[in-house]
């Protein structure tokens, strides 16, 4: 028996918010809840292969000091161990001019549009971070 699917629109480039999204997505996905994540806007930068470091505030510093789980690895674990799909926003890919090969591996589905994502999300709960 599956719970109501969870849909997350992730737009923030802040480390703390990306971390929280990764925690929510991975823990829900391994708790028998289907999860889909739509990554767009400034959040896209954190998912580039050549990202230098997460940009954030005070809590970001603490998490780096204490070696909290890596945000992107949380999404990858959720995908590997649970029912998690992560889509890069097709608009963001078009505007940035980035190729899919420039994004981190073992994570993304092919780019999706907002229309498709919102349509899927009609059958679940949608949160925006």
């Amino acid at each position: 028996m599956s719970a109501e699917p969870l849909f997350i629109i992730l737009t923030s480039g802040e480390h703390e918010k990306i971390q929280m999204a990764g925690m929510i997505a991975s823990v829900a996905a391994v708790s028998e809840r289907p999860v889909e994540v739509f990554v767009s806007m400034n959040a896209m930068f954190a998912f580039r292969k050549d990202r230098s470091d997460y940009q954030g505030g005070e809590f970001s510093k603490l998490m780096k000091e204490k070696n909290a789980p890596d945000a992107i690895e949380l999404f990858q674990q959720g995908r590997m161990l649970g029912d998690l799909k992560v889509y890069p926003c097709s608009m963001a890919m078009d505007i940035s001019g980035w190729e899919e090969s420039e994004l981190v591996e073992d994570l993304f589905e092919p780019p999706a549009g907002l229309t498709k994502f919102l349509s899927d999300a009609e059958n679940g709960h949608l949160v925006t971070i």
Partner: protein, 76 residues
Amino acid sequence: MSETTTVDARGAYCPGPLMELIATLKLVEVGDEIEVLSSDKGSANDIPEWVAKVKHELVGINEKDDHWSIVVKKLK
């Protein structure tokens, strides 16, 4: 014959120990037990919640000097 696998997740923060437990659960047989060692208090609270939610069995949870030992039996 059931076996016990130990996952040493001491030093990892939530949800690291939970993820390590789940990754190991995928590898063992039904009936086997996994002992997770965690120094993270949040995980000591959260792992039993997860076990109940997805219907495995919490065999025991013990607080040691500087960490918790959480034993989970794979039921499915």
